[in-house]
């Protein structure tokens, strides 16, 4: 469960607020997509949940014991980093203090990337790299998985595979998912609930309710 209470945030500590008095609750096992226009505070919201940022006001209460995080896959500065898939996952395994190396093979199988252990991460395609980021996030068997635009820089086929992986981990293993989405089709097709952010405020709704809102706005809303 994640309870967000009267959450406000400003990068300067004073108005204007990126998030203004936001309140919502996410139950365990829910798949929530956070949507809204560019700059509306979607990424800020998940960075607050991840505790990368401190709220200006309000609070976030979470009973998630293990959180997995998949960052936005548009930071190409890492593409030249000399590290193999195995090294990246193995170092992360040790950071999480997981004793068995078997977990690496398990998470790679989970995302359909078995046999890629010795490949340099910089030589992977956008979709493959995203799967490795998801594999890493799944390594500690998280009860909460947070993703920032998982389909950015990923071709259509890989997008389908990635959402299939997320959906499977959500429905089969009960992993709660919060995903910032610019891909509205994916948000509507995969989410249990959609959190619609607009002008620093937001509300939770069903995908169908979101479609109705979207049509009401004349299709002007875009993530």
């Amino acid at each position: 469960m994640i309870q967000v209470e009267n959450l406000s945030f400003s990068y300067t500590g004073s108005p204007p607020y990126v998030l203004n008095n936001v309140t919502f609750r996410i139950e365990d096992g829910t798949y929530v997509s956070v949507v809204g226009e560019n700059g509306c505070g979607k990424s800020t919201l998940i960075r607050l949940i991840l505790k990368f940022l401190k709220p200006t006001g309000g609070a976030i209460v979470s009973d998630a014991k293990r959180i997995g995080y998949v960052p936005q896959n548009n930071d190409f500065s890492n593409s030249s980093f000399p590290i193999t898939v195995f090294e990246a996952l193995n170092s992360y395994r040790r950071l999480l203090k997981l004793k068995s190396k078997d977990v690496i093979a398990q998470v790679l199988e989970n995302v359909g990337m078995s046999g890629r252990e010795n490949v340099l991460v910089g030589s992977l395609s956008g979709g493959q790299y995203q799967k490795i980021l998801i594999a890493r996030a799944l390594m500690g068997r998280p009860d909460l998985l947070i993703l920032d635009e998982p389909s950015t820089g990923v071709d259509r086929n890989s997008q389908q595979e990635i959402y299939g992986i997320l959906k499977r981990n959500n429905t089969k293993d009960g992993v709660t998912i919060i995903s910032v989405e610019h891909n509205l089709d994916a948000a509507i097709a995969n989410s249990t609930l959609i959190y619609h952010l607009r002008d620093g405020r937001g509300h939770l709704c069903t995908p169908q309710h979101y479609i109705d809102e979207f049509l009401h706005l004349g299709g002007k809303e875009h993530a």
Binding site: G68, I83, T84, Y92, L95, L120
Partner: protein, 273 residues
């Protein structure tokens, strides 16, 4: 040549340098912090002058002052988040300012020139003990913090999510950088010290391998650079620091050339098929 005690001392210290510098350098280079090495090597000159003025060991002086400057860089990152180069200019100004003021005061108990250009004649036994202690502590710290350091360099947010105390380790890292620099200034000299930190890593990166192999190759290239630099500079009677920097650049160019030839050969072979 190896019959001379000063040469034996220089050789031992060189081995420590060639292991320690690339171990630190790989993280500096991969975090796009190469110029921090340069800034802190100038800070070490200020530390040397403080050591010489206060009748303390200059290497110890360099270690303490360079550590303080390293911590200052990390501290100033809070205030100049998007201007890392400006932070380096501030710390460089402070360091060079202190060094020039001290040297020009005429109150130093010894000549600081050998620390600027590097010298194999001036390595004392006490220096060797200092170098040994700093090297062993640094290498052990690196082994202990290996995964944390990789992840801070590779993906700082993922490191944070895994519970790594990024800020604390950043401060420890700058102490390690200070240690590597202090160990190296006797032989390599302040002016070209950053080359020992960055160039063997730059050469190893050309091989396009994983982290561990890149690190091992960085150490190997570093040993080649320093040993060739040390021996040739002895026969040419020039400062070892400057010549080691030249060897480092030459080795890098050779590896780049070999890589280019290898690529062309592969293309030619595939054309033949």
């Amino acid at each position: 040549m190896l019959n001379y005690a000063f040469m034996q001392n220089a050789l031992v210290v060189s081995v420590f340098i060639s292991i320690l510098c690339p171990c630190i350098g790989i993280f500096l280079v991969l975090r796009r912090y190469s110029m921090i090495g340069d800034t802190l090597s100038h800070a070490s000159l200020a530390g040397v002058t403080i050591g010489l003025m206060t009748h303390q060991n200059p290497i110890l002086g360099a270690f303490v002052f360079t550590s303080i400057c390293g911590a200052l860089i990390e501290f100033l990152r809070n205030y100049f988040k998007k201007y890392t180069d400006l932070i380096l200019t501030i710390v460089l100004s402070l360091s060079v300012g202190v060094a020039i003021t001290m040297i020009s005061s005429g109150k130093l108990n010894a000549n600081a020139d050998s620390f600027m250009f590097g010298s194999i004649l001036t390595v004392t036994e006490f220096d060797m003990i200092m170098v040994f202690i700093l090297s062993v502590i640094s290498v052990l710290a690196l082994i202990f913090l290996y995964d944390q350091m990789i992840y801070i360099a590779y993906d700082e947010e993922a490191a944070q999510t895994a519970g790594v105390k990024v800020r604390l380790i950043n401060y420890v890292f700058f102490v390690l950088v200070a240690s590597a620099i202090s160990v190296s200034i006797r032989i390599v000299g302040v002016l070209v010290l950053s080359s020992m930190i960055a160039l063997p890593v730059a050469t190893a990166l050309q091989l396009g391998k994983g982290f561990k192999i890149t690190l091992v190759c960085s150490i190997l290239f570093s040993i080649i650079d320093i040993m060739l630099g040390l021996f040739i500079s002895y026969y040419l009677n020039v400062a070892p620091g400057g010549f080691t920097a030249l060897v480092s650049v030459a080795v890098l160019l050779l590896v780049l050339l070999a890589k280019k030839l290898g690529t062309n050969l592969k293309m030619w072979r595939s054309d033949q098929k």
